[in-house]
């Protein structure tokens, strides 16, 4: 077997050649070229927006910062202006059922006009109606009607009074009514005088008064009827006068809006209502505030709630809209989506009317597109349900949440629903999409199209140029310093590093945008007109430095030998593994000591991490794979009479992942064979039951973590890292690592099989079995085999029954 050779420097970091860019700075670039990598998502967006059928709403899924919103908005900005402008909507009073305001659709731009016309109408009524009702003609007619009633009453009572007077009886007004009394010389007879009258005369007077009283009662009985008739006549007169005054104004408006039948019907109802309630336009007392504010009389009363009934509440005004609206609702609370009915506090009571209906994002986006962040939508109580209901029923029904859940106990409104024609685009992470798909049966019915945004894109020339174009657009948009070709190339390399793959570029554009801004800051602070590669590097280094506190603390502890990591000697049953720590957005690698001990046993490998529940399931799986490997390699001819224990030394926070399984196998082989492992190496990579080394994540951080420690202790050319060969494409190492490799001070070995690795680590060949399955004795496998055989025999000897029939106690071997 030929041993792997160290990787050449050019394999450690795939650089972006600035000569790829024909521009000297991004100032020479035009608008941003599209990223080819998101074609799948763009096709899905295009399909969803193009199909007008129900339920084909879109869920744009992908990690945050991958430009989902920008992509969708950009696409919509391309198609929306060419679409028809949706109509305006307004709410008006329902004169028959005030609790159910009517929704009225008008052509785009007409609603505001109509609202203004209605305000002018009300203003005009304040002039026209008082003038009509203060006219001499009206006054005379009203007076006539009232006079007629008075005359009717006066004449009837007057006749009775005359009849009474003929009989020397007077009709007298009492505090509460009328009464009759006999008079003499214009004065009521005193009681003693009356008593002196003859009995017959007294009876006659009493009888006469009784008759008069009955007649008076008959007249009084007529009075309410006369009053009603008078009121009816006055009402009829008022109706005629009001109608005569109002009709020309309303007719003029009806003619203006004759092409909109709903408006004409509304104006008819409005005319009737004004005629019935004309008296509210007749201002009784001028408001003092009007005098002080210099307003014409009635102006303030016009603003009073009683005139709200004639207002028009424009909830969608598309007078300035070009094409279909594109709305992004930043706070998708229920009331912000479907609208709300507000209340006012009046005299301690909550009141509302149709003018307090507030539109939601669905109203504004009706006829167009609505973008909503899925996570925020789900965080808002009832908002997701409200949105689904609107999409399912294809109408916007405004319901007061307070009313719905009896939080407000007052009269509220039930506005007429508005038909909904909209495309909703939800933006969210993949996990949300899959969760909704799994748990909400409505979701797949309403959001039939998924635009799955890639996390990364191929690092081909096209996408590198697209990166440059994107940086140029950003510079123009945010008024930053332009970037040189070298600076762009450095950003492209950074994009690969974030992607964790030299053949890819990250699609997490937010990270790139952040780096562009930071590099611009450093260029500015260096008083440069153009951002250079060193500004970009400075930004990258500064970003790393800002979050390196924990990393430095760990390294400091390692250098002080508080955390024991040997990088010089050779040790049996001890190896340097590599782990990645992630804190916030930053990750860093750190070596960790892994040790193994073997003793007589039944062939099990004890994972101490798992025993104390500090190892995750993937790590445990990796350890069990080792047992499989050992069994297959050494347990065919003889029993595995060992018990091995593995541990991550000085690990206090748990271990997960199988990237240390190759290191664990190496250290086990070392412990079994007794061959010491060179501690100047660190190892990463998972392993399968056949001993093949498999790819792992975070390879760059791991290599750099070990490199940093060795560098701090002093590099002498022995130090190096064993990585899976399948991770070569992921290498995007820091320039100082690459330089050290160039100088022969550090090495990175790509390993495909465990036998290669053990030979590199021990300097002893792994050994191949002969035809009998026996390994040469001076190889790792041979030594391990011999040790296992010895252990098996020892175990057998200890397990054999003594003469007295008892087994010997089993003792540990090593």
């Amino acid at each position: 077997m030929s041993l792997p050779t160290p990787l050449p420097p050019e394999k450690l970091c795939r650089t972006c050649d600035p000569s790829l860019f024909t521009f000297s700075t991004t100032a020479e670039l035009g608008e941003q070229a599209g990223m080819t990598s998101q074609k799948r998502a763009f096709d899905a967006i295009s399909f969803s927006m193009g199909i007008r059928h129900d339920g084909f709403n879109l869920f744009a899924l992908g990690p945050n910062g991958t430009g989902k919103q920008t992509a969708v908005t950009g696409f919509l900005e391309g198609i929306a202006p060419g679409s028809p402008v949706p109509p305006d909507w307004c709410y008006v009073n329902n004169f028959e059922k005030p609790r159910h305001p009517k929704a009225m659709q008008l052509p785009a731009g007409k609603a505001s006009e109509f609202a203004r016309d209605m305000e002018h109408l009300v203003e005009a009524l304040f002039t026209v109606l008082p003038a009509a009702f203060s006219s001499e003609e009206y006054q005379a007619q009203e007076k006539n009607i009232r006079e007629k009633f008075q005359e009717q009453q006066t004449e009837a009572i007057g006749r009775l009074e005359e009849d009474a007077a003929k009989k020397n009886i007077a009709l007298i007004r009492t505090p509460a009514g009328f009464a009759f009394a006999p008079v003499k010389n214009g004065e009521v007879i005193k009681p003693e005088e009356f008593m002196q009258l003859g009995k017959e005369e007294q009876v006659t007077i009493e009888k006469q008064i009784e008759e008069l009283k009955n007649a008076l009662q008959a007249i009084m009985g007529q009075i309410p009827k006369w009053q009603r008739e008078t009121q009816e006549r006055i009402k009829e007169l008022n109706r005629n006068i009001a109608s005569f005054a109002v009709r020309p104004l309303v007719s003029e408006l009806s003619a203006t809006y004759s092409s909109i039948p709903e408006t004409v019907d509304y104006l008819k109802a409005l005319e009737n209502d004004i005629v019935e309630n004309f008296d509210q336009f007749l201002e009784k007392e001028p408001d003092e505030r009007e005098y002080f504010l210099g307003l014409p009389p009635g102006r303030l009363s016009m603003k009073s709630p009683s005139f709200n009934r004639y207002r028009v509440n424009v909830i969608v005004d598309n007078s300035r809209t070009t094409g279909a609206p594109v709305i992004y609702e930043d706070k998708p609370a229920c009331q912000n989506l479907v609208g709300d009915i507000e209340h006012l506090s009046q005299m301690g009571t909550l009141v509302t009317d149709f003018t307090l209906i507030k539109p939601g994002a669905l109203h504004k986006a009706n006829g167009g597109y609505l973008l909503v962040d899925a996570r925020r939508l789900l965080l808002e109580p009832l908002a997701y349900e409200a949105l689904k209901k609107a999409l399912r029923t294809r109408q916007i029904r405004i319901e007061s949440l307070g009313q719905l859940y009896s939080l407000i106990s007052t009269v509220s409104l039930e506005p007429e629903p508005i038909p909904l024609d909209i495309k909703v685009i939800l933006l969210g992470e993949r996990s949300l999409y899959y969760l909704l798909n799994d748990y909400d049966p409505d979701f797949s019915e309403l959001f039939k199209v998924a635009a799955d945004f890639e996390d990364e894109m191929p690092a081909d020339d096209g996408n590198r140029l697209a990166y440059a174009g994107m940086i140029g657009s950003m510079v123009r948009q945010d008024n930053l310093h332009h970037f040189s070709g070298a600076a762009v190339a450095r950003i492209v390399e950074y994009g690969s590093r974030i992607a964790g793959d030299a053949t890819k570029l990250t699609a997490h554009l937010q990270s790139i945008f952040d780096l562009v801004h930071e590099a611009d800051y450093y260029a500015g602070s260096s008083e440069r007109d153009t951002v250079e590669a060193e500004d970009v590097q400075r930004a990258i280094d500064a970003k790393k430095l800002r979050s390196s506190r924990v990393q430095e603390k760990i390294r400091e502890a390692t250098l002080k030998n508080i955390i024991l990591i040997d990088t010089e000697s050779e040790k049996t049953g001890q190896i340097n593994g590599l782990a990645v720590y992630t804190i916030g957005e930053q990750s860093f690698g750190q070596p960790g000591r892994i040790t193994a001990r073997v003793r007589l046993g039944k062939g099990e490998v004890v994972d101490i991490e798992r025993e104390v529940e500090m190892g995750g399931p993937i790590h445990s799986k990796g350890v069990l794979i080792l047992s499989g490997f050992l069994g297959a390699r050494f347990g065919i001819e003889q029993p595995l009479s060992l018990s091995a224990s593995l541990v991550f030394e000085q690990s206090y926070s748990g271990v997960e992942g199988d990237s240390a399984s190759s290191a664990e196998l190496y250290v086990l082989l070392s412990a079994l064979s007794g061959a010491p492992i060179k501690q100047c190496f660190a190892v990463t990579g998972s392993v399968n039951q056949h001993g093949e080394v498999q790819a792992i994540g975070g390879v760059n951080e791991k290599i750099e973590g070990f490199f940093d420690l060795c560098k701090a202790r002093g590099l002498d050319g022995k130090h190096g890292v064993l990585i899976p060969a399948s991770n070569i494409d992921n290498l995007m190492l820091r320039s100082d690592v690459v330089e050290a490799v160039k100088g022969g001070l550090f090495s990175v070995y790509p390993v495909t099989h465990i036998d290669e690795g053990i030979e590199l680590l021990t300097g002893i060949p792994a050994g191949k079995p002969d035809g009998n399955g026996q390994y040469p004795p001076d190889t790792i496998n041979g030594m391990a085999m011999a040790r296992l055989r010895e252990m098996a025999l020892r175990l057998k000897k200890f397990s054999a029954p003594e003469e007295n029939g008892e087994a010997k106690t089993m003792m540990p071997a090593n």
């Binding site: 008075q150 005359e151 009453q153 006066t154 009572i157 007057g158 009074e161 007077a170 009709l171 007298i172 007004r173 009492t174 505090p175 509460a176 009514g177 009328f178 009464a179 009759f180 009394a181 006999p182 008079v183 004065e187 009521v188 007879i189 005193k190 009681p191 009356f194 007077i205 009493e206 008064i209 009283k213 008076l216 009662q217 009084m220 009985g221 009075i223």
Partner: protein, 288 residues
């Protein structure tokens, strides 16, 4: 009369104004007018409430029943209840007077008398320079014509009488005065000027005895009417008009508010009294 009324009104020297209050709408209008005038002339205001003796006697008759206004049901009158009702009315009248007195800072008195209403009012108002009365009282059949108290006052010798009715303020933006050249009409003219609101129109209805007399009257008026009185409208009647109905028609055509006249002009007092009965504007009868 509002605070912005002309200063010349202050020239009127009413020392004592009497007003009859029976809590009817006309009498409350009278009280409001009397208070305004008292405020501007710094006169003492006397409110007069009369407990009608006829009413009290009637209550004591054994067979008397009251027909209630809003139920039309007869009910025996209880004298003590009636007394209580009258006392309550008197208190209401007094409270109304005190409200105005407080509003205008007036010296005021309130009298409650018992007897026949017209006689008691006239008797209580003997010392007053101005007697303010509602056009009609509480009697059932006198809604259109003049009340018994007004009739009595016209026939009596009260100095000046202001006859008010609801719906009109004491001061108006137009006032009409009848002028025939007599001293009494000159007094009326002076009084009308004083009652006219600032910026208001003074209508002068000239009543010439003959064609030649008109010229004389016009000359007199040119001297009598102050030059700063901006809006004056003259109306001339044909010579010899002495019919109250014709006069009432002319006054209606002028469409003025307060009518100021005297029953001591060349026209007979009966004609003037008939005119007052026919006209439905407030009237100020000037005698002093």
């Amino acid at each position: 009369m509002e605070p912005g009324m002309p200063d010349r009104q202050k020239n009127i020297r009413f020392r004592h104004i009497a007003v009859a209050i029976d809590c009817s709408p006309h009498s409350l209008a009278s009280l409001a007018a009397a208070a305004e005038i008292a405020s501007h002339t710094q006169a003492e205001l006397t409110g007069i409430f009369v407990e009608d003796i006829n009413l009290l006697r009637m209550a004591e008759l054994p067979f008397t029943h009251e027909v209630r206004m809003y139920t039309a049901e007869p009910e025996k009158i209880d004298p003590s209840h009636l007394e209580r009702s009258l006392r309550l009315q008197a208190r209401e009248a007094q409270a109304a007077l005190e409200r105005y007195a407080e509003q205008f800072t007036l010296r005021h008195t309130f009298r409650v008398c018992r007897g026949k209403v017209p006689a008691e009012v006239m008797s209580a108002a003997l010392e007053a320079d101005l007697l303010v009365l509602g056009r009609s009282g509480r009697a059932p059949a006198c809604r259109k014509g003049l009340g018994s108290t007004v009739k009595c006052a016209l026939a009596g010798n009260a100095r000046n009488i202001l006859i008010m009715q609801t719906g009109f303020p004491a001061s108006a933006d137009s006032t009409l005065v009848i002028y025939d050249g007599t001293d009494a009409s000159r007094s009326s003219l002076a009084m009308a000027e004083n009652f006219l609101q600032a910026g208001g129109t003074l209508h002068i209805l000239i009543l010439p005895q003959s064609a030649g007399h008109l010229e004389t009257l016009e000359e007199e008026l040119s001297e009598l009417v102050p030059a700063d009185l901006l809006r004056v409208e003259y109306h001339v009647l044909p010579p010899g008009v002495d019919n109250s109905t014709v006069l009432a028609r002319y006054i209606h055509m002028a469409g003025s508010g307060l009518l100021v006249l005297s029953d001591r002009m060349s026209l007979p007092a009966e004609t003037i009294h008939d005119l007052i009965g026919e006209i439905d504007y407030p009237v100020l009868l000037v005698r002093g």
